[in-house]
């Protein structure tokens, strides 16, 4: 195999790399230090799909399983108390991470998708009536669009769409005209997974609040890149997944203002979410337990707690600076490839870069980059309406994490260049 062009090592030459922190960080991610397809070094640029897990986070879960595992709540014995303590500790950490006022405003879910579905059902079914309107954006993930579409279908409500401008930013000027007195909810992502655009969700919430419109912010792509403060954003709901934040799959959170959630109907029924059950009638438990039916992903919560601790320990201004410099380097490098077009050129972006090449199918680029060790994601990125907006069926997407190096960006550019040559 010819890998001479792929310079994806951890060589100490990368002066531009904020060398200190990146090389130290990479030691905590053994998965990155491997060869794929027999012989090529892995260059993992699929972080928007899921991030890798640092050793301390993996160890936290293992430790829990080796020493403290038990089902939580209602358990009176030593292990049950320890497991419950750890489970509730993560809840407080999530609260602090989002700057939520109260721990009971944090609900455990499987992830962003379930969090949105919970709101669409538990809040939506009670609050959205026939003739009402729900606004989503044209750049939203299917995880937002589909539950809201299903809600509107159930209720005979109308889904309205906030359009995207050519540069990949939301057309915020169009929002006031979209809003009317039937608007019940605005749901929009904080950061676009397909374009990288950072949206001005604070302005959106400022428009919604005085009109009594509920707001739901999809923070799936934001939490690992921006400082999130739900009180500053002033949203009603904020949702995210642990697996995009160097934490476990199968766990995430819903933040919801206590004022709204304390009167919200339950979502799933089962153990823990009840106060009392009889065949004559059942009464439901208080927040947050009312929305946590059945055994939760306990080890996932423990892992998420460790991920928040680990992530919280990073120097976030250094991380942000590093990710921005990766983005600049990738943008420059890829732009130089003939026929390559970057989709999404917002002034405020995280380290995500989506592109297409004239006359070449993105899937071919994905296959040939993969052969060179470079892991991209190719497809519609669960944003089909956005793909349609930009007149493409799919894009190839590279997305950076805290551990991404400048040499990996160079490997990306080299591998795309070679793929394009091979396909031309």
């Amino acid at each position: 195999m010819n890998t001479s062009n792929v310079d994806a090592g951890f060589a100490p030459v990368a002066v531009a790399d904020n060398a200190l922190y990146v090389s130290a960080l990479r030691n905590e991610f053994p998965i990155l230090n491997q060869r794929v397809h027999g012989n090529v070094p892995l260059v993992y640029l699929d972080n928007a799909a899921t991030t890798q897990r640092p050793i301390p986070v993996i160890n936290a879960t293992t430790d829990y399983l080796l020493h403290s595992h038990s089902n939580v709540h209602r358990g009176g014995h030593a292990l049950a108390m320890e497991a419950t303590r750890l489970f509730e500790l993560t809840r407080s950490r999530i609260q602090a991470f989002l700057n939520a006022p109260l721990p009971e405003e944090i609900i455990y879910t499987r992830g962003t998708t379930e969090s949105v579905n919970l709101v669409a059902s538990a809040w939506g079914d009670d609050n959205v009536k026939s003739g009402d309107e729900v606004i989503v954006s044209e750049m939203d993930h299917h995880a937002v669009i589909v539950p809201m579409q299903m809600l509107c279908q159930r209720k005979g409500a109308t889904l309205r769409v906030l359009p995207v401008l050519d540069n990949g930013t939301l057309d915020l000027d169009a929002l006031p005209d979209l809003i009317n007195n039937r608007t019940k909810l605005i749901a929009v992502n904080h950061v676009s997974n397909a374009l990288g655009t950072i949206n001005d969700v604070k302005s959106i919430c400022a428009l919604a609040r005085p009109r009594g419109i509920t707001t739901l912010i999809d923070g799936a792509q934001a939490v690992a890149h921006l400082k999130v403060d739900v009180q500053d954003i002033d949203c009603d709901f904020y949702v995210f997944s642990a697996h995009k934040l160097y934490g476990p799959t199968g766990v995430g959170a819903l933040y919801g203002r206590a004022e709204i959630m304390s009167s919200m109907s339950p979502y799933q029924g089962g153990g823990s979410m009840i106060a009392s059950v009889s065949f004559e009638g059942t009464t439901y438990n208080d927040l947050p337990y009312r929305f946590e039916a059945g055994t939760q992903n306990i080890e996932g919560a423990v892992g998420l707690g460790a991920a928040l601790e680990w992530f919280g320990g990073l120097d976030h201004s250094a991380v942000a600076k590093h990710e921005q410099s990766l983005l600049r380097r990738a943008t420059e490098g890829l732009s130089a490839i003939k026929g390559l077009r970057i989709i999404g050129n917002a002034p405020n972006k995280i380290g995500i870069i989506s592109f297409v090449v004239d006359g070449i199918h993105a899937s071919d680029i994905g296959v040939l980059c993969d052969e060179q060790g470079v892991a991209l994601r190719v497809g519609h990125h669960c944003t089909m309406p956005l793909m349609k907006r930009f007149g493409v069926g799919s894009t190839a997407r590279a997305s950076a994490g805290v551990y991404t190096t400048h040499s990996e960006i160079d490997a990306l550019v080299t591998s795309v260049g070679k793929a394009v040559r091979m396909l031309s």
Binding site: H73, R74, G76, A78, M81, T84, R85, E88, A275, D286
Partner: protein, 173 residues
């Protein structure tokens, strides 16, 4: 005895019982000695939520009248004048022996004290007494809820006392 003195005494008391069986025997005995809970207060509204065993807590009495303490508290209606240093009286009970013993301990610390005194109790007495595992928020025996409830009463009564004091001062100006 102030609550601080009571806590010191309790800590000494428990420190002198190294054996876990004897310690529980003592806790259970304290529960047995708890004054009988007035049956007229064995109502749902006096139940403390979040319990595996049942826990009741009634606050009022001692000159504060038999008002519905779950709702608004209006001591003035009972015609009291010198309310600033007035104490809060609690009645409490559980159907589980150990929980009842722990309630008895809490009563020694909190019962018949002023709001200020209640709010001034340092929360680390739980660790000092070695009762962490029974009184943490995670424990579903209702004692953590009960302590929270006691604090809420103290805050509410404290505010009322403040207002009365202010009202009296205004009158006397």
């Amino acid at each position: 005895m102030t609550s601080a003195e009571t806590i010191r005494k309790l800590v000494d008391e428990f420190a002198s019982i190294p054996d876990w069986e004897d310690r529980y025997a003592h806790i259970i005995a304290l529960g047995r000695a708890l004054p009988a809970y007035p049956e007229e207060y064995r109502k749902d509204k006096y139940k403390v939520s979040g319990c595996q065993s049942q826990v009741w807590l009634y606050a009022g009495g001692k000159g504060r009248g038999d008002q519905d303490t779950q709702g608004t508290v209006d001591g003035e209606a009972n015609g009291h004048k010198d309310v600033v240093s007035e104490v809060i009286h609690f009645e409490a009970d559980s159907d589980a022996a150990i929980v009842k013993g722990l309630i008895a301990i809490l009563m020694k610390i909190y019962n018949d004290r002023t709001p200020q005194e209640i709010l001034g109790v340092p929360p680390d007495f739980i660790q000092k007494l070695g009762l962490d595992q029974h009184l943490t928020v995670n424990r579903t025996n209702g004692l953590a809820s009960m302590m929270k409830q006691i604090h809420l009463y103290a805050i509410a009564y404290g505010r009322i006392d403040e207002e009365r004091k202010r009202a009296r001062e205004l009158k006397s100006q």
